[in-house]
């Protein structure tokens, strides 16, 4: 069976490492593509089909919401979650009106599992 693909974007290497461990523990049939910021993500994900994207909000350069918009333009049906500890209400409303989900930091196995439940 072909592996499912998730895009992980976070400027903190520790955060990426953590998510990688969770997937290694609980979701072995998933393949991850990691990026350290939006630019990096856009370059690496060109032409790749994802089942899920977990994107940090606060990053140098383009923020998570703007990256999410670009990703949706490439792949309209992509399930995107913003992973963030605190976010301005205005930004949260903006993300919600784009149909983006939220995962509150710190991320854990339970939160990733519930995000995956909505996936086809």
């Amino acid at each position: 069976m072909e592996k499912k693909k998730a895009l992980i974007v976070d400027d903190s290497s520790l955060a990426r490492m953590m998510i990688r461990k969770f997937f290694a523990d609980g979701f072995k049939d998933w393949e991850l593509l990691e990026a350290k910021d939006a630019q990096d993500a856009l370059e690496k994900s060109e032409g790749v089909f994802f089942h899920l994207a977990l994107i940090d909000f606060n990053m140098p350069g383009m923020n998570g919401i703007d990256l999410a918009e670009k990703m949706m333009e490439r792949q309209p049906g992509l399930a995107i979650y913003l992973v963030t500890a605190n976010i301005q209400e205005r930004m949260q409303l903006r993300a919600q009106s784009m149909g983006i989900g939220f995962i509150r930091k710190p991320i854990d196995l339970v939160k990733i599992t519930s995000a995956m439940q909505g996936l086809a």
């Binding site: 500890a85 784009m98 149909g99």
Partner: protein
């Protein structure tokens, strides 16, 4: 949670990433001391502090997390321009960096963050975090001459309107902040006002003295007196202005709730939030902007699937922009949705008998699109729960007419629509032209006036002619309709036929015409005499006259009489209707 080896790897990453971040924070803070408004730098420092906080939370070090969190709060306020980095604040933030580094050392040695007491620095940070936005040291100077009065009785509506699945009806959670009945004024501004009023009193005394002793020098004193009053007037008007961003904030919520409700993906962009508008105007436009955003969400923006099918981004975009130009406010509501289909509009207008087939044959697409503002018009084939609230674009237009605003629509099928609204920045003082007609004095708002033309003797016949049985006047190498004001205001007066009207004009020894513009339409208004320009303090007209849409307000003239400000779009409408009824 993880096996030893994983835990060790995570901790190594924890140390190295945090140390790097702290190093950058320290450098950034030092740079900010000499350039406190460097936004790039503030953002970078904020992000690094945010990373440190997140890392501590992930690895379970709550004390250091709390420390980073407090620092982040202060940095966030700087990011939002709510606070400026003073040396004192800078030192405290650097103190956070030192303590965080020491704590990392402790963790590295013992595996736990220990019992280090952060309470002193946390208290200091807390104090900074709670400073009122306008009153820390460097901002103090700025806040005293800050021209913005801040509403005090109704702070930003932080209360979230309930996310109800039912339709917000009438004055729902997005109703105008009509309750803003008081403003906050800085003491220094009040003092300036006091001074000016004092000087006004002094020059009044001077006036009395000069009148009694040197009556032929009175003009000079009156001139000074007039200047002082003018200054006071413009100063007080400034207090009435408020940034439009204050009412815009709630639209994020509106768009979010609607997009969840109808399942469309939308981004709302706001441009020009700092644009200042009279608070009265603000209350009026708040409701109509909310309505237009609803319309754009409901009729304009397509569902993601449809958008993708047409090669558009799956996410729709609605942009709201405001700009101040020459005492007027330009508002634009644009969406990249499906646009308005003239054929659909026309079909509906014909069924509703808003126009006849014959009339429509001479209408341009943009004229047809404007029919959506006819009373009761709604193109939604079903009564939608979003914008179908028994109100349509006709309500928007009526509200705009009331405040002397205009609206234009530009729509391209498949590409989207742009609604442009032009409104006066303030309604209190209106630069006007005084004219006389039928023995009465009227005022016309300058904003609609294109030119003043007077013809004498033979020039009258040379420039006025009949076309399609209606009087027309030559203007800039073209012909525009010429309407006697009498005909519009004196409904019960003698009705001349158009031919007789032209004859009358041709026999006149002089003809005075005010060329007016409503949207893209020019027309000439014939009046008995043009008196001159003035600025009028306009009062809303009393309730008994409020049904007369031709009148926009009233003003007391120097001799104590009352004059009416004419509503130019309504004048044009009235002329247009009487023209159409000829057919």
């Amino acid at each position: 949670m993880f096996d030893d080896e994983t835990q060790k790897a995570l901790m190594e990453e924890f140390f190295s990433e945090n140390r790097e971040a702290l190093g950058r924070i320290e450098k950034g803070l030092l740079a900010l001391e000499s350039h406190p408004s460097d936004h790039e730098c503030i953002n970078a420092v904020f992000r690094d502090m945010h990373t440190v906080k997140g890392n501590c939370r992930m690895m379970g070090f709550p004390r250091m997390e709390a420390l980073a969190h407090k620092a982040e709060t202060i940095l966030d306020r700087m990011r939002e321009d709510n606070m400026v980095l003073t040396q004192e604040i800078g030192s405290s933030l650097l103190g956070v960096v030192d303590r965080a580094r020491r704590t990392l050392d402790v963790i590295a040695r013992s595996g736990s963050e220990g019992e280090t007491d952060f309470s002193t620095i946390l208290d200091t940070l807390e104090r900074f975090a709670n400073l009122p936005a306008t009153c820390q040291s460097p901002v103090m100077a700025r806040c005293s001459d800050d021209p913005l009065p801040v509403p005090v009785s109704s702070p930003q509506p932080k209360t979230k309107p309930a996310v109800s699945s039912t339709v917000p009806s009438g004055k729902g959670p997005y109703a105008p902040p009509a309750t803003v009945e008081s403003i906050r004024l800085s003491l220094s501004r009040l003092d300036t006002l006091m001074n000016q009023v004092g000087e006004l009193g002094a020059s009044f005394n001077q006036l009395k003295y000069v009148l009694a002793h040197h009556p032929h020098h009175v003009e000079q004193v009156i001139e000074l007196h007039g200047k002082q009053i003018q200054w006071l007037q413009s100063e007080v008007i400034k207090y009435r202005l408020q940034p439009i961003g204050q009412i815009w904030d709630q639209y994020h919520r509106l768009v979010r709730d609607l997009s969840v409700e109808i399942g469309k993906k939308v981004i709302l962009d706001l441009v020009g939030e700092e644009t200042e508008i009279d608070r009265n105007v603000l209350a009026v436009i708040n409701e109509l902007l909310g309505h237009m955003i609803r319309n754009a969400m409901d009729h304009g923006i397509e569902f993601s699937e449809e958008r993708t099918r047409h090669g558009k981004s799956p996410i729709g975009r609605i942009t709201l922009s405001a700009e101040q130009k020459h005492g007027q406010i330009f508002l634009k509501i644009s969406d990249d949705g499906r646009g308005i289909d003239p054929a659909m509009v026309l079909k509906k207008a014909l069924t509703m008998q808003l126009v006849t087939l014959e009339q429509s044959s001479e209408m341009t697409d943009s004229e047809i699109v404007r029919l959506i503002m006819a009373p009761g018009f709604s193109t939604a084939s079903h009564v939608s729960t979003i914008s179908g609230r028994g109100t349509g674009m006709d309500v928007v237009k009526a509200a705009l007419d009331k405040i002397g605003g205009t609206i234009t629509i530009a729509s391209t099928q498949g590409m989207g629509s742009v609604f442009q609204i032009v409104i006066p920045q303030t309604m209190a003082i209106v630069p006007s032209l005084l004219i006389q007609d039928g023995g009465e004095t009227f005022a016309l708002p300058q904003t609609h006036i294109v030119e003043l033309v007077s013809f004498y003797g033979n020039d009258v016949t040379a420039n006025v002619e009949g076309k399609m049985q209606a009087p027309m006047v030559r203007f800039r190498e073209g012909l525009i309709p010429l309407v006697p004001l009498q005909r519009l205001v004196k409904r019960d007066g003698p009705k001349r036929s158009s031919r007789r009207e032209i004859e009358r004009m041709h026999q006149a020894s002089a003809l005075h015409i005010v060329v007016l513009q409503v949207q893209e339409n020019l027309f000439g208004l014939e009046v008995d005499a043009i008196l001159g320009h003035t600025s009028l303090l306009i009062k809303p007209i009393s309730r008994i006259f409020s049904h007369i849409s031709l009148l926009a307000g009233s003003a007391v003239m120097p001799d104590g009489s009352i004059s009416f400000l004419l509503n130019v779009p309504a004048l044009f409408q009235s002329h247009d209707n009487s023209e159409q009824s000829k057919f």
